[in-house]
Symmetry: C2
Subunit: 217 residues, 2 copies
């Protein structure tokens, strides 16, 4: 991991997108692609792509381009798609259920095995293959299964408390959908905050600019 | 809008977060806050905050700090939270329903009035207050309601086609949850791609680094 450990944060942010595009090309049966072609599809400059992909070993060859399959595999390895991290989801409301059903965890290095909710009425209800457990069961489950990743789809007020508990139970990575910026004061703990509300506001800002310009004309 | 039109993209990306934090402070009854305090809560440097907030007029006063309520209102105005943009959602699967029910559109400048799905079995089913319509009704609905914002929760294969159609019907902004980077070749059209899968992969990458370091030790 020493090589990937030195990759800059901005390159890392683009890696999942490279992985996704290369996966598409693979599906379409494309064997090789030049940085120019890839740049057109991904709306990045060719030199940006060459620079990014050079960060983890020069996979491209002059006049030959990138070998789609091996580049896809190599990026997948760096991302950890083969890790099969045991994953739990807390909060089986509308959003939690949708995330559990909509996201393919397996192709992204995670294996969802436990879903928890504080509402006893939900206990035993199935979300896909998994029966919802009461949050009281989390501790026991963690001792038995040692999950690495936790998906938080719970109200803001409970997020920090639950996260603290899960850290003490060995969870290393949080995919956080609550409207709360999880504090990342824990050493060696990874947090990916997903603020859908912030994303919508960014869109509203853009729409507001566009519409205001139209109104001015 | 001339002032906000010149704000850099990186500042704009942080605006919804400022808006969220200031909203919290307001709820907690905080009237004033210094850039230092705000920086501690938001995990940004105080000078970053001063620089950001100076972009849209020096709201802070030396030795007094920021007036939470007026700064919140001002940022809200810039974001367009009072615009009440007519909004439609296409694709009433698990994710579409969860977005419709989970996101407070109203506080973010949008007003969700139509939900559409291609599956005739869903027609008439209610998601909150709204009865699902068949996608065949989109054109008529757009002529009558002129929606500005469209939320796309549809499979990748249909996304570009539906987006093209909606652009021709006057939609200006897309909140795109499909696993497809909507092409933004349309002039004056705003796209916010939400790739939940990419977000999970970023988390997996981080977890992989942390776990590998632990394994090495």
């Amino acid at each position: 991991m020493s090589k990937s450990g030195s990759i800059s944060a901005s390159v890392i942010k683009r890696l999942p997108r490279y992985y996704r595009f290369l996966g598409e090309l693979k599906k379409q049966g494309v064997e090789r692609i030049s940085s120019r072609e890839l740049s057109e599809r991904m709306k990045l400059t060719a030199s940006q792509i060459r620079q990014d992909l050079n960060c983890f070993g020069g996979f491209g060859q002059q006049g030959y381009g990138y070998h789609v399959d091996s580049l896809h595999n190599e990026i997948g390895k760096i991302l950890g798609v083969d890790r099969n991290f045991e994953t739990i989801l807390i909060g089986a409301g509308n959003l939690g259920k949708a995330i559990a059903l909509h996201i393919n965890f397996e192709t992204r290095g995670c294996h969802l095995t436990g879903i928890f909710d504080v509402n006893p009425k939900l206990t035993g209800q199935r979300v896909g293959d998994i029966a919802i457990m009461h949050t009281d069961e989390i501790e026991k489950f963690c001792h038995e299964h040692s999950p690495v990743v936790a998906v938080l789809c719970i109200p803001k007020a409970n997020t920090q408390e639950i996260a603290d508990k899960l850290v003490s139970l060995g969870v290393k990575a949080f995919w956080n959908f609550s409207h709360y910026d999880l504090s990342i004061d824990y050493e060696g703990i990874i947090v990916e905050n997903v603020h859908l509300g912030d994303s919508l506001l960014t869109l509203t800002y853009g729409a507001n600019i566009v519409i205001s310009e139209n109104e001015d004309n």
